[in-house]
Assembly symmetry: C2
Homo-oligomer: 371 residues x 2
DNA sequence: GCCACTTAAGCAACGCTGTTGCCATAGTGC
DNA sequence: GCACTATGGCAACAGCGTTGCTTAAGTGGC
């Protein structure tokens, strides 16, 4: 088990194992997975897996889906996740745009929409727009009978308190400082709400597309430069939800002054290169930060995103990969760390926000740090 | 529970809760802790705590130690860890020196010794010296009746594979590349052996002196510059035990060439400043890296160590603290991140190595990453 | 000095967990 | 058609924390 500070009883044991199985079903996707594979992966006995999957089937979360070819005996029964057993709303509040998605348990987007937003408007107006967007996707799309919506995940720019769901100051929008977004939206929608930084949401969503507990970094280059970290399968937030402050790391001692008051911040250098059209240099600077990160945390995979990257993804991937590979080569690493770009424009953030709600179901809630 | 990839059964549940209680007893130290406090901290019922502590007492790991003052009813019985219920050997193999310690469950050093070592000598010779040192501390000291030694933790410089206990190349000592140190020493001593990087060991040992699952960084400045990270109470190693590569992060784009082949590595800049006697500049450079780290991971506490730091601890602490505080102030953090220096010269590494053996007892084994 | 009250800790019964031993089911191959 | 193999469920079981109640050990009022 883990190093969480709380004791475990039988219900906790049960939900831990159920989450584990559910996560394996999720990762298996449409292909499904058999009971014996589940037993091997979890270390539980086949009988225990049978009991657990029976419960999941009774709850409607899992279903049998055909059989594998026999290997000399009774063929294995394939189980898969029932995607529409639950949904989550993902809401991305950006500075000028609102994106909302409805995703099912498998992570597939059922409904999605985008609208302009003035994040600088009074809180009530923004909240009303957000509430309307949530209501719209809950009722939208075809076959909208009785969808079980588990909650709303909200991704916002800037720093905040994840535990309390309270925003801190967002650069350029001081009126949000101290605003209890989680509780306010929970009252309006009648749903549980989780709030997190946009980069954390994106990182979670992108990390969940792959299996396992690998360590993962998402680097977002848009109007600013930030990072989301997923360590051991869960978002690493730190005690104050302040982790991921990637843009203001110093990569040039006594370098040019940054808007934050520091000197030689990677964000300032990167954005300056972008501003003068030197994409290759921006990618090299970004790659330097990525290489620092990979070396420091032994990250397994780096994903780039954000509008600026989306404008010229190949140059950024090539530039970042070059720096990361070169550094890794010096360290004697065997396999290079993959560097890829996130697809889908800004939607990964909204999808990741929805995953903030779903992740606990799959045992991927953060540990002692940011739960 | 956690996001480990393995299922949990009743014995796992039991040992999880036992470890949790044991960790609270360890942190409480000589002051002890009552059953009801344990119940509050763990979230378990008082009755469950009674059962768990009864088992621990039966195994000799815990004992009753007096009573608290009454608050109107039966006074609480204080429980404490029995330190000599188990010991661990910590071995620090450095480039020119061998340090060995015997610590008890509470982390107190019972026996300790240091001897010169030629790490460049043939492996057999080094191993023989290490084995002798282990044997000496097992039998050394007073009242050496029947100490239960749980294992040997070994800290070595340079990169390695923690899982397999195999060394990679150590700068300047290529003959160790691929050497199966763990198994070799396990055979010679007849004890379980755990191998880790010196910085990781030091970080673990220093982090365990405080309670809780805070995120902690140890920065070691000696012949090189490295870091050990403790996230959520356990060492963060990454999938390849490569995390903590702090010294070769770039803090000056196109800066001076470093021995690693890169440019502007923090290690090169820091050591260059040390070489020309500019301790304040070295501290500033180190502080820049520390601030990068604190911002990226939302680290709670930074500890400095290593011979170079030990030569002028106050200047380093002051310099690093200045940079970290200044950066934190810009980010709007409330409380400054403490920056302190590790006491005890090189012994923290050996003590931490011993904690590599003890940590699992207290539920602080690494998670999916490096277990 | 006695009694009422409060708090701590243990005993016994209980519900629920995963495990074990055994059996039914459903295929393959001779 | 039979022997064999692998899958998966049924039933009994040991062990976990929980619940309800009892006993132990103090304080404070009268």
């Amino acid at each position: 088990m883990n190093r969480s500070n709380s004791g475990a009883n039988l219900p906790a044991l049960r939900s831990h194992n159920a989450a584990l199985v559910l996560d394996l079903l999720r990762v298996a996707g449409g292909a499904g997975i058999s009971r014996l594979e589940l037993a091997e992966r979890t270390g539980l006995t086949p009988q225990a897996v049978s009991k657990i999957t029976a419960r999941l089937r009774a709850e409607g979360l899992a279903a049998e889906a055909g059989h594998r070819a026999s290997t000399g005996g009774k063929p294995r029964t394939v189980l898969r996740l029932v995607p529409d057993a639950g949904y989550a709303v993902g809401l991305h509040l950006d500075r000028d745009e609102l994106t909302v998605v409805l995703v099912d348990l498998s992570g597939a987007v059922a409904v999605s929409s985008t609208a302009p937003l003035d994040f600088g408007a009074p809180a009530d107006e923004v909240l009303a727009a957000a509430t309307d967007a949530v209501t719209a996707v809950r009722d939208g799309g075809a076959g909208t009978g009785d969808r079980r919506v588990l909650g709303v995940g909200v991704a916002v720019p800037g720093s905040l308190d994840h535990r309390g769901g309270v925003l801190h100051r967002v650069t350029g929008f001081p009126q949000w400082d101290g605003y209890p977004l989680r509780d306010a939206l929970a009252v309006r929608t009648g749903l549980p709400v989780v709030v997190d930084k946009d980069t954390n949401a994106a990182a979670l969503g992108l990390a969940l597309r792959a299996a396992g507990g690998g360590d993962f970094a998402y680097l977002h280059l848009g109007t600013g430069l930030g990072a989301g970290l997923v360590l051991g399968g869960a978002v690493h937030r730190g005690a104050r939800t302040a982790a991921g402050e990637f843009g203001h790391q110093t990569v040039e001692l006594d370098g040019p002054v940054c808007g934050c008051g520091g000197r030689g911040c990677i964000e300032a250098l990167c954005l300056a290169a972008v501003a003068r059209g030197d994409v290759a240099e921006a990618a090299r600077v970004l790659g330097t930060g990525a290489a620092n990160l990979v070396g420091l945390l032994d990250i397994d995979r780096v994903v780039l995103g954000g509008r600026t990257v989306a404008a010229d993804p190949e140059t950024y991937v090539r530039g970042v990969r070059a720096v990361v590979d070169e550094r890794a080569g010096r360290g004697g690493a065997d396999a290079p760390v993959p560097v890829v770009v996130a697809g889908g424009g800004d939607r990964p953030v909204a999808e990741g926000a929805a995953q903030l709600v779903l992740a606990p179901l799959f045992g991927r809630a953060a540990g002692a740090d940011g739960a």
